[in-house]
Protein backbone atom coordinates (compact mmCIF):
# COMPACT_ATOMS: atom_id res chain seq x y z
CA UNK A 1 0.00 0.00 0.00
CA UNK A 2 1.29 3.38 -0.95
CA UNK A 3 0.05 6.64 0.31
CA UNK A 4 0.83 10.11 -0.88
CA UNK A 5 -0.98 13.03 0.52
CA UNK A 6 -1.16 16.78 0.36
CA UNK A 7 -3.62 19.21 1.91
CA UNK A 8 -4.50 22.79 1.20
CA UNK A 9 -5.52 26.04 2.94
CA UNK A 10 -4.26 25.11 6.39
CA UNK A 11 -1.69 22.51 5.55
CA UNK A 12 -2.36 19.73 8.02
CA UNK A 13 -0.32 17.12 6.28
CA UNK A 14 2.33 17.73 3.70
CA UNK A 15 3.70 15.23 1.25
CA UNK A 16 3.57 12.01 3.20
CA UNK A 17 4.43 8.67 1.63
CA UNK A 18 4.63 5.35 3.30
CA UNK A 19 3.85 1.73 2.62
CA UNK A 20 2.54 -1.07 4.78
CA UNK A 21 3.93 -4.53 4.11
CA UNK A 22 1.88 -7.66 4.55
CA UNK A 23 1.85 -9.06 8.07
CA UNK A 24 3.84 -6.10 9.30
CA UNK A 25 2.95 -3.60 11.95
CA UNK A 26 3.62 0.01 11.14
CA UNK A 27 3.82 2.32 14.14
CA UNK A 28 3.09 6.01 13.70
CA UNK A 29 4.37 8.11 16.58
CA UNK A 30 4.12 11.82 17.18
CA UNK A 31 2.80 14.41 19.59
CA UNK A 32 -0.84 15.47 19.49
CA UNK A 33 -1.51 17.67 16.49
CA UNK A 34 1.21 16.09 14.40
CA UNK A 35 -1.33 14.65 11.97
CA UNK A 36 -1.15 10.95 12.78
CA UNK A 37 -4.90 10.33 13.14
CA UNK A 38 -5.94 12.54 10.28
CA UNK A 39 -3.62 10.65 7.94
CA UNK A 40 -5.43 7.43 8.66
CA UNK A 41 -8.84 9.04 8.43
CA UNK A 42 -7.89 10.43 5.05
CA UNK A 43 -6.95 6.97 3.81
CA UNK A 44 -10.34 5.60 4.80
CA UNK A 45 -12.22 8.58 3.37
CA UNK A 46 -13.68 9.53 6.73
CA UNK A 47 -12.97 13.23 6.43
CA UNK A 48 -15.61 15.77 5.48
CA UNK A 49 -15.89 17.74 2.25
CA UNK A 50 -13.98 20.73 3.55
CA UNK A 51 -10.81 18.71 3.59
CA UNK A 52 -8.94 18.92 0.37
CA UNK A 53 -7.00 15.74 -0.08
CA UNK A 54 -4.50 15.27 -2.85
CA UNK A 55 -2.43 12.23 -3.62
CA UNK A 56 -3.07 8.52 -3.87
CA UNK A 57 -3.55 5.65 -1.46
CA UNK A 58 -3.42 2.20 -2.96
CA UNK A 59 -4.90 -0.84 -1.31
CA UNK A 60 -4.33 -3.99 -3.36
CA UNK A 61 -4.29 -1.92 -6.52
CA UNK A 62 -7.43 0.09 -5.68
CA UNK A 63 -6.95 3.80 -5.23
CA UNK A 64 -8.86 4.50 -2.02
CA UNK A 65 -8.93 8.24 -2.55
CA UNK A 66 -10.40 8.05 -6.06
CA UNK A 67 -12.60 4.94 -5.99
CA UNK A 68 -16.36 5.38 -5.79
CA UNK A 69 -18.11 5.54 -2.42
CA UNK A 70 -19.86 2.17 -2.52
CA UNK A 71 -16.65 0.37 -3.20
CA UNK A 72 -14.84 2.15 -0.41
CA UNK A 73 -17.61 1.33 2.01
CA UNK A 74 -17.20 -2.34 1.23
CA UNK A 75 -13.48 -2.12 1.84
CA UNK A 76 -13.86 -0.09 4.98
CA UNK A 77 -14.96 -2.45 7.73
CA UNK A 78 -14.52 -5.69 5.81
CA UNK A 79 -10.97 -5.25 4.54
CA UNK A 80 -9.68 -2.34 6.58
CA UNK A 81 -10.96 -2.07 10.15
CA UNK A 82 -10.39 0.75 12.52
CA UNK A 83 -10.03 0.64 16.29
CA UNK A 84 -10.67 3.98 17.89
CA UNK A 85 -9.08 5.82 20.73
CA UNK A 86 -12.01 6.23 23.06
CA UNK A 87 -13.89 2.98 23.66
CA UNK A 88 -16.31 4.72 26.02
CA UNK A 89 -17.80 6.89 23.28
CA UNK A 90 -17.39 4.54 20.32
CA UNK A 91 -20.31 2.36 21.36
CA UNK A 92 -23.96 3.32 21.26
CA UNK A 93 -25.05 3.60 24.90
CA UNK A 94 -28.62 2.50 24.13
CA UNK A 95 -27.81 -0.96 22.77
CA UNK A 96 -26.29 -3.97 24.47
CA UNK A 97 -22.85 -5.10 23.41
CA UNK A 98 -24.30 -8.14 21.66
CA UNK A 99 -26.76 -6.06 19.61
CA UNK A 100 -24.01 -3.79 18.38
CA UNK A 101 -21.72 -6.67 17.52
CA UNK A 102 -24.47 -8.43 15.59
CA UNK A 103 -25.31 -5.26 13.70
CA UNK A 104 -21.71 -4.83 12.59
CA UNK A 105 -21.30 -8.47 11.58
CA UNK A 106 -24.58 -8.67 9.67
CA UNK A 107 -23.79 -5.47 7.82
CA UNK A 108 -20.24 -6.34 6.85
CA UNK A 109 -20.25 -10.11 6.40
CA UNK A 110 -23.73 -10.43 4.91
CA UNK A 111 -24.79 -13.19 7.29
CA UNK A 112 -28.05 -13.69 9.22
CA UNK A 113 -28.56 -12.70 12.85
CA UNK A 114 -28.63 -16.31 14.02
CA UNK A 115 -25.32 -16.93 12.27
CA UNK A 116 -23.80 -13.85 13.84
CA UNK A 117 -24.63 -14.76 17.44
CA UNK A 118 -22.11 -17.60 17.89
CA UNK A 119 -19.48 -15.44 16.17
CA UNK A 120 -20.03 -12.72 18.78
CA UNK A 121 -19.50 -15.15 21.62
CA UNK A 122 -16.38 -16.51 19.98
CA UNK A 123 -14.98 -13.02 19.45
CA UNK A 124 -15.45 -12.08 23.09
CA UNK A 125 -14.06 -15.40 24.31
CA UNK A 126 -10.95 -14.95 22.23
CA UNK A 127 -10.29 -11.60 23.86
CA UNK A 128 -9.91 -13.41 27.20
CA UNK A 129 -12.89 -11.67 28.73
CA UNK A 130 -14.22 -13.36 31.85
CA UNK A 131 -17.89 -14.41 31.73
CA UNK A 132 -18.29 -13.75 27.99
CA UNK A 133 -22.01 -14.59 27.99
CA UNK A 134 -22.75 -12.07 30.73
CA UNK A 135 -20.62 -9.38 29.11
CA UNK A 136 -22.51 -9.68 25.83
CA UNK A 137 -25.78 -8.79 27.54
CA UNK A 138 -24.33 -5.70 29.22
CA UNK A 139 -24.51 -2.11 28.10
CA UNK A 140 -21.40 -0.04 27.37
CA UNK A 141 -21.57 1.96 30.61
CA UNK A 142 -21.44 -1.24 32.65
CA UNK A 143 -18.03 -2.22 31.29
CA UNK A 144 -14.63 -0.71 31.95
CA UNK A 145 -12.63 1.08 29.27
CA UNK A 146 -10.19 -1.81 28.97
CA UNK A 147 -13.02 -4.30 28.48
CA UNK A 148 -14.73 -2.18 25.84
CA UNK A 149 -11.44 -1.73 24.06
CA UNK A 150 -11.03 -5.49 23.92
CA UNK A 151 -14.60 -5.92 22.68
CA UNK A 152 -13.84 -3.43 19.91
CA UNK A 153 -10.69 -5.34 18.97
CA UNK A 154 -12.78 -8.51 19.04
CA UNK A 155 -15.27 -7.06 16.57
CA UNK A 156 -12.50 -5.86 14.30
CA UNK A 157 -10.92 -9.32 14.31
CA UNK A 158 -14.11 -11.23 13.58
CA UNK A 159 -14.36 -9.33 10.32
CA UNK A 160 -10.95 -10.82 9.46
CA UNK A 161 -9.71 -7.65 7.81
CA UNK A 162 -6.49 -7.40 5.86
CA UNK A 163 -5.50 -4.26 7.68
CA UNK A 164 -6.31 -3.02 11.16
CA UNK A 165 -5.82 0.65 11.87
CA UNK A 166 -5.55 1.24 15.61
CA UNK A 167 -5.72 4.88 16.64
CA UNK A 168 -4.25 5.31 20.14
CA UNK A 169 -5.82 2.06 21.36
CA UNK A 170 -4.04 2.13 24.72
CA UNK A 171 -4.39 5.79 25.66
CA UNK A 172 -7.78 5.56 27.35
CA UNK A 173 -6.94 2.29 29.08
CA UNK A 174 -5.59 1.92 32.62
CA UNK A 175 -1.91 1.15 32.79
CA UNK A 176 -2.57 -2.31 34.24
CA UNK A 177 -4.66 -3.16 31.19
CA UNK A 178 -2.45 -1.44 28.62
CA UNK A 179 -0.02 -4.31 28.50
CA UNK A 180 -2.94 -6.75 28.03
CA UNK A 181 -4.25 -4.80 25.06
CA UNK A 182 -0.75 -4.65 23.55
CA UNK A 183 -0.36 -8.41 23.97
CA UNK A 184 -3.66 -8.84 22.18
CA UNK A 185 -2.27 -6.90 19.22
CA UNK A 186 0.88 -8.97 19.12
CA UNK A 187 -1.27 -12.12 19.19
CA UNK A 188 -3.46 -10.93 16.35
CA UNK A 189 -0.50 -10.39 14.11
CA UNK A 190 0.84 -13.86 14.77
CA UNK A 191 -2.44 -15.73 14.62
CA UNK A 192 -4.29 -14.02 11.79
CA UNK A 193 -1.41 -12.56 9.77
CA UNK A 194 -3.11 -9.21 9.76
CA UNK A 195 -1.24 -6.08 8.82
CA UNK A 196 -1.54 -3.18 11.21
CA UNK A 197 -1.12 0.53 11.50
CA UNK A 198 -0.63 1.41 15.13
CA UNK A 199 -0.90 5.08 16.07
CA UNK A 200 0.29 6.35 19.44
CA UNK A 201 2.03 9.22 21.18
CA UNK A 202 3.73 6.75 23.46
CA UNK A 203 6.96 5.31 22.09
CA UNK A 204 6.84 2.71 24.86
CA UNK A 205 3.61 1.26 23.51
CA UNK A 206 4.77 1.48 19.87
CA UNK A 207 8.00 -0.32 20.60
CA UNK A 208 6.08 -3.30 21.94
CA UNK A 209 4.28 -4.08 18.69
CA UNK A 210 5.70 -2.22 15.70
CA UNK A 211 8.07 -3.61 13.08
CA UNK A 212 8.49 -0.31 11.29
CA UNK A 213 8.13 3.15 12.75
CA UNK A 214 7.23 6.53 11.30
CA UNK A 215 7.90 9.61 13.39
CA UNK A 216 5.65 12.56 12.56
CA UNK A 217 5.89 16.20 13.49
CA UNK A 218 3.74 19.11 12.24
CA UNK A 219 2.25 17.08 9.44
CA UNK A 220 5.52 15.81 8.08
CA UNK A 221 7.43 12.58 8.45
CA UNK A 222 10.69 13.43 10.16
CA UNK A 223 12.08 9.95 10.30
CA UNK A 224 11.13 6.48 9.18
CA UNK A 225 12.73 3.07 9.33
CA UNK A 226 12.57 -0.26 11.08
CA UNK A 227 11.71 -0.20 14.77
CA UNK A 228 15.21 -1.35 15.61
CA UNK A 229 16.87 1.46 13.69
CA UNK A 230 14.63 4.17 15.08
CA UNK A 231 14.78 3.02 18.68
CA UNK A 232 18.45 2.13 18.82
CA UNK A 233 19.99 4.81 16.64
CA UNK A 234 17.60 7.71 16.07
CA UNK A 235 18.94 10.35 13.70
CA UNK A 236 16.37 13.12 13.79
CA UNK A 237 16.47 15.38 16.83
CA UNK A 238 12.71 15.17 17.34
CA UNK A 239 12.91 11.38 17.50
CA UNK A 240 15.74 11.72 19.97
CA UNK A 241 13.65 14.14 22.02
CA UNK A 242 10.72 11.71 22.13
CA UNK A 243 12.98 8.85 23.16
CA UNK A 244 14.83 10.92 25.75
CA UNK A 245 11.73 12.27 27.49
CA UNK A 246 10.33 8.80 27.80
CA UNK A 247 13.66 7.48 28.96
CA UNK A 248 13.92 10.01 31.76
CA UNK A 249 10.52 8.86 33.00
CA UNK A 250 11.41 5.20 32.77
CA UNK A 251 14.93 5.47 34.16
CA UNK A 252 13.69 6.68 37.50
CA UNK A 253 11.15 3.84 37.58
CA UNK A 254 13.75 1.23 36.75
CA UNK A 255 16.15 2.68 39.31
CA UNK A 256 13.55 2.23 42.04
CA UNK A 257 12.55 -1.23 40.95
CA UNK A 258 16.10 -2.54 40.70
Amino acid sequence: MDFKDYKDVVHIIRDISFSLKKNHCLGIVGESGSGKSITCRAILGLLGKNFNIEGDAFFEGINLLKADKRRIRRIRGKEVSMILQNPMTSFDPLYSIENQMIETLVENLGISISEAKPLCLKAVEEMNIINPKVVLKKYPHELSGGMLQRVMIGIALTLKPQIIIADEPTTAVDSANQIKVLKEFANIKEKYHTSMIFISHDLGAISKVADDIIVMKDGRIVEQGTAKEILNSPKNHHTKYLIDTRKSLVDRFNYIIK
Partner: protein
Protein backbone atom coordinates in the same frame (compact mmCIF):
# COMPACT_ATOMS: atom_id res chain seq x y z
CA UNK B 1 0.19 17.47 60.10
CA UNK B 2 -0.95 19.18 56.93
CA UNK B 3 -3.81 16.89 56.07
CA UNK B 4 -5.40 14.10 58.00
CA UNK B 5 -8.09 11.86 56.56
CA UNK B 6 -9.84 9.76 59.20
CA UNK B 7 -11.99 6.75 58.48
CA UNK B 8 -13.86 8.32 55.59
CA UNK B 9 -16.91 6.64 54.06
CA UNK B 10 -18.79 7.79 50.99
CA UNK B 11 -21.61 6.25 49.02
CA UNK B 12 -23.77 7.33 46.13
CA UNK B 13 -27.28 6.15 45.52
CA UNK B 14 -27.77 4.52 42.21
CA UNK B 15 -31.23 4.10 40.78
CA UNK B 16 -32.13 0.72 39.35
CA UNK B 17 -35.44 0.99 37.60
CA UNK B 18 -37.99 3.56 38.67
CA UNK B 19 -38.45 2.96 42.39
CA UNK B 20 -35.68 0.67 43.52
CA UNK B 21 -32.55 2.39 44.70
CA UNK B 22 -29.24 0.83 45.43
CA UNK B 23 -26.41 2.22 47.47
CA UNK B 24 -23.03 2.20 45.85
CA UNK B 25 -20.32 2.30 48.49
CA UNK B 26 -17.38 4.16 46.95
CA UNK B 27 -15.10 4.72 49.93
CA UNK B 28 -14.98 2.19 52.74
CA UNK B 29 -13.14 3.66 55.67
CA UNK B 30 -10.09 5.46 54.29
CA UNK B 31 -7.46 7.00 56.60
CA UNK B 32 -4.11 8.54 55.75
CA UNK B 33 -1.95 11.55 56.48
CA UNK B 34 -0.07 14.06 54.37
CA UNK B 35 3.01 15.80 55.75
CA UNK B 36 4.50 19.14 54.77
CA UNK B 37 6.38 19.40 51.49
CA UNK B 38 5.91 15.84 50.39
CA UNK B 39 4.28 14.29 47.39
CA UNK B 40 1.85 11.51 48.13
CA UNK B 41 0.81 9.29 45.24
CA UNK B 42 -2.60 7.64 45.25
CA UNK B 43 -2.75 4.93 42.65
CA UNK B 44 -5.70 2.82 41.61
CA UNK B 45 -7.65 1.79 38.54
CA UNK B 46 -10.68 3.61 37.22
CA UNK B 47 -13.67 3.14 39.50
CA UNK B 48 -11.57 2.51 42.59
CA UNK B 49 -12.84 5.70 44.24
CA UNK B 50 -9.61 7.67 44.11
CA UNK B 51 -11.16 10.68 42.39
CA UNK B 52 -14.04 10.72 44.89
CA UNK B 53 -11.44 10.88 47.62
CA UNK B 54 -9.86 13.85 45.87
CA UNK B 55 -13.20 15.63 45.71
CA UNK B 56 -13.79 15.05 49.42
CA UNK B 57 -10.39 16.50 50.28
CA UNK B 58 -10.98 19.73 48.40
CA UNK B 59 -14.40 19.96 50.03
CA UNK B 60 -16.68 19.96 47.01
CA UNK B 61 -18.38 16.91 48.49
CA UNK B 62 -18.94 15.80 52.05
CA UNK B 63 -18.13 12.37 53.45
CA UNK B 64 -21.00 10.25 54.87
CA UNK B 65 -18.85 9.35 57.81
CA UNK B 66 -15.41 10.26 59.09
CA UNK B 67 -13.48 13.51 59.15
CA UNK B 68 -10.96 15.38 57.07
CA UNK B 69 -8.63 17.80 58.87
CA UNK B 70 -6.40 20.41 57.29
CA UNK B 71 -3.99 21.90 59.79
CA UNK B 72 -6.14 20.31 62.52
CA UNK B 73 -9.29 22.11 61.36
CA UNK B 74 -12.19 20.03 60.14
CA UNK B 75 -12.93 21.25 56.61
CA UNK B 76 -16.64 20.56 56.97
CA UNK B 77 -17.04 22.58 60.16
CA UNK B 78 -18.06 26.23 60.12
CA UNK B 79 -14.47 27.34 60.57
CA UNK B 80 -13.52 25.13 57.65
CA UNK B 81 -14.31 27.66 54.96
CA UNK B 82 -11.26 29.81 55.50
CA UNK B 83 -9.06 26.74 55.48
CA UNK B 84 -10.11 25.84 51.95
CA UNK B 85 -7.78 28.54 50.73
CA UNK B 86 -4.98 26.17 51.60
CA UNK B 87 -6.13 23.59 49.05
CA UNK B 88 -6.10 23.71 45.28
CA UNK B 89 -6.89 21.26 42.58
CA UNK B 90 -5.84 20.44 39.02
CA UNK B 91 -8.06 18.07 37.04
CA UNK B 92 -7.39 15.70 34.19
CA UNK B 93 -9.62 17.43 31.70
CA UNK B 94 -7.92 20.80 31.38
CA UNK B 95 -10.31 22.06 28.74
CA UNK B 96 -13.50 21.61 30.73
CA UNK B 97 -11.95 23.01 33.90
CA UNK B 98 -11.66 26.50 32.43
CA UNK B 99 -14.42 28.74 31.17
CA UNK B 100 -14.07 28.79 27.37
CA UNK B 101 -15.31 32.42 27.25
CA UNK B 102 -12.66 33.65 29.67
CA UNK B 103 -9.27 34.89 28.61
CA UNK B 104 -6.27 33.42 30.40
CA UNK B 105 -5.96 36.59 32.48
CA UNK B 106 -9.58 36.21 33.72
CA UNK B 107 -9.11 32.53 34.46
CA UNK B 108 -6.15 33.15 36.76
CA UNK B 109 -7.47 36.35 38.31
CA UNK B 110 -10.64 34.67 39.59
CA UNK B 111 -9.14 32.96 42.67
CA UNK B 112 -6.99 36.04 43.38
CA UNK B 113 -10.09 38.23 43.40
CA UNK B 114 -11.83 35.93 45.87
CA UNK B 115 -9.05 35.69 48.41
CA UNK B 116 -7.01 38.86 48.03
CA UNK B 117 -7.89 42.51 47.64
CA UNK B 118 -5.46 43.73 45.02
CA UNK B 119 -5.65 46.62 42.61
CA UNK B 120 -6.11 45.80 38.96
CA UNK B 121 -2.51 46.62 38.17
CA UNK B 122 -1.15 44.47 41.00
CA UNK B 123 -3.36 41.58 39.96
CA UNK B 124 -2.04 41.73 36.41
CA UNK B 125 1.53 41.87 37.66
CA UNK B 126 0.87 38.88 39.88
CA UNK B 127 -0.64 36.94 37.00
CA UNK B 128 2.34 37.66 34.77
CA UNK B 129 4.53 36.41 37.57
CA UNK B 130 2.49 33.23 37.91
CA UNK B 131 2.58 32.60 34.17
CA UNK B 132 6.34 32.98 34.13
CA UNK B 133 6.48 30.62 37.10
CA UNK B 134 4.84 27.87 35.02
CA UNK B 135 6.92 28.59 31.96
CA UNK B 136 4.54 30.73 29.89
CA UNK B 137 5.12 34.29 28.72
CA UNK B 138 2.80 37.27 29.16
CA UNK B 139 1.70 37.14 25.54
CA UNK B 140 -0.72 34.41 26.65
CA UNK B 141 -2.65 36.85 28.87
CA UNK B 142 -5.28 37.82 26.33
CA UNK B 143 -5.64 34.47 24.65
CA UNK B 144 -8.62 32.15 24.95
CA UNK B 145 -8.33 28.51 26.12
CA UNK B 146 -8.91 27.05 22.66
CA UNK B 147 -5.89 28.92 21.36
CA UNK B 148 -3.59 26.98 23.66
CA UNK B 149 -2.29 23.42 23.37
CA UNK B 150 -3.11 20.84 26.02
CA UNK B 151 0.20 21.17 27.78
CA UNK B 152 0.00 24.96 27.82
CA UNK B 153 -3.56 24.94 29.16
CA UNK B 154 -2.60 22.50 31.89
CA UNK B 155 0.18 24.95 32.83
CA UNK B 156 -2.46 27.68 33.10
CA UNK B 157 -4.49 25.41 35.41
CA UNK B 158 -1.41 24.89 37.56
CA UNK B 159 -0.80 28.65 37.65
CA UNK B 160 -4.38 29.15 38.77
CA UNK B 161 -3.94 26.45 41.41
CA UNK B 162 -0.87 28.11 42.95
CA UNK B 163 -2.33 31.64 42.71
CA UNK B 164 -3.74 31.56 46.25
CA UNK B 165 -0.50 30.16 47.72
CA UNK B 166 -2.09 26.88 48.84
CA UNK B 167 -0.39 24.47 51.23
CA UNK B 168 -1.14 21.56 48.99
CA UNK B 169 -2.60 20.73 45.59
CA UNK B 170 -4.73 17.75 44.65
CA UNK B 171 -3.62 16.61 41.19
CA UNK B 172 -6.40 14.39 39.89
CA UNK B 173 -4.95 12.55 36.88
CA UNK B 174 -3.44 15.90 35.98
CA UNK B 175 -1.07 14.51 33.35
CA UNK B 176 -3.01 11.50 32.07
CA UNK B 177 -4.43 13.09 28.97
CA UNK B 178 -1.15 14.65 27.82
CA UNK B 179 1.47 13.25 25.46
CA UNK B 180 4.34 11.42 27.11
CA UNK B 181 6.84 14.13 26.20
CA UNK B 182 4.58 16.84 27.64
CA UNK B 183 3.92 14.72 30.74
CA UNK B 184 7.60 14.85 31.58
CA UNK B 185 7.64 18.63 31.15
CA UNK B 186 4.69 19.06 33.53
CA UNK B 187 6.17 16.65 36.07
CA UNK B 188 9.44 18.58 35.98
CA UNK B 189 7.50 21.81 36.52
CA UNK B 190 5.68 20.33 39.51
CA UNK B 191 8.96 19.15 41.03
CA UNK B 192 10.48 22.58 40.53
CA UNK B 193 7.48 24.31 42.15
CA UNK B 194 7.65 21.94 45.09
CA UNK B 195 11.22 22.95 45.79
CA UNK B 196 10.65 26.66 45.23
CA UNK B 197 7.45 27.43 47.08
CA UNK B 198 7.28 24.62 49.64
CA UNK B 199 4.10 22.93 48.56
CA UNK B 200 2.70 19.41 48.97
CA UNK B 201 0.93 17.30 46.38
CA UNK B 202 -1.62 14.56 46.40
CA UNK B 203 -0.96 12.92 43.08
CA UNK B 204 -3.93 10.79 42.01
CA UNK B 205 -3.21 8.61 39.01
CA UNK B 206 -3.32 5.13 37.49
CA UNK B 207 0.20 5.41 36.14
CA UNK B 208 2.84 3.92 38.37
CA UNK B 209 5.67 5.23 36.22
CA UNK B 210 4.63 8.83 36.82
CA UNK B 211 4.31 8.09 40.55
CA UNK B 212 7.90 6.94 40.78
CA UNK B 213 9.01 10.06 38.94
CA UNK B 214 7.59 12.54 41.41
CA UNK B 215 6.20 10.96 44.60
CA UNK B 216 7.82 10.33 47.99
CA UNK B 217 5.13 7.99 49.26
CA UNK B 218 2.50 5.85 47.55
CA UNK B 219 -0.91 4.56 48.57
CA UNK B 220 -2.40 1.70 46.58
CA UNK B 221 -6.13 2.13 46.29
CA UNK B 222 -8.47 -0.66 45.31
CA UNK B 223 -12.24 -0.93 45.54
CA UNK B 224 -12.62 1.95 47.99
CA UNK B 225 -9.94 0.74 50.36
CA UNK B 226 -6.27 1.38 50.91
CA UNK B 227 -4.73 -1.99 50.22
CA UNK B 228 -1.12 -1.04 50.73
CA UNK B 229 1.01 1.92 51.68
CA UNK B 230 4.65 2.41 50.71
CA UNK B 231 6.29 5.00 52.94
CA UNK B 232 9.55 5.18 51.05
CA UNK B 233 9.26 5.10 47.29
CA UNK B 234 12.52 3.13 47.06
CA UNK B 235 10.77 0.23 48.82
CA UNK B 236 8.27 0.00 46.00
CA UNK B 237 9.73 -3.27 44.75
CA UNK B 238 8.83 -4.97 48.05
CA UNK B 239 5.06 -4.56 47.79
CA UNK B 240 3.15 -7.51 49.24
CA UNK B 241 -0.47 -7.08 48.26
CA UNK B 242 -1.58 -8.98 45.14
CA UNK B 243 -3.18 -5.94 43.59
CA UNK B 244 -0.11 -3.74 44.04
CA UNK B 245 2.10 -6.50 42.70
CA UNK B 246 -0.10 -6.71 39.63
CA UNK B 247 0.20 -3.00 38.95
CA UNK B 248 3.94 -3.09 39.49
CA UNK B 249 4.34 -6.01 37.14
CA UNK B 250 2.28 -4.36 34.42
CA UNK B 251 4.31 -1.17 34.75
CA UNK B 252 7.57 -3.08 34.67
CA UNK B 253 6.57 -4.84 31.47
CA UNK B 254 5.67 -1.52 29.88
CA UNK B 255 8.93 0.05 30.91
CA UNK B 256 11.56 -2.36 29.74
CA UNK B 257 14.19 -0.10 28.21
CA UNK B 258 13.65 0.78 24.59
CA UNK B 259 17.34 0.39 23.98
CA UNK B 260 17.27 -3.34 24.60
CA UNK B 261 14.82 -3.61 21.79
CA UNK B 262 14.99 -7.33 21.07
CA UNK B 263 14.18 -8.49 24.59
CA UNK B 264 11.04 -6.55 25.12
CA UNK B 265 8.64 -7.63 22.43
CA UNK B 266 5.46 -8.77 24.07
CA UNK B 267 4.76 -11.87 22.01
Amino acid sequence: MLLQVENVYKSYSKSCGIIKKEKLQVLKGVSFKLHRSECLGIIGESGSGKSTLGRLIIGVEKPDNGNIFINNTNINSSRGKSIKKDVSVVFQDYFSSVNPRFKIIDIISEPIRVYEKLSKKDTTLKIINLLERVGLSKKFLSRYPHELSGGQLQRVCIARAIATKPKFIVLDEAISSLDVSIQVQILDLLKELKNDIDISYIFITHDLTAVTYICDRVIFFHDGNIVEQVDNIEDLKNVKNDYSKNLLQAATQMNVREAIYENQRVS
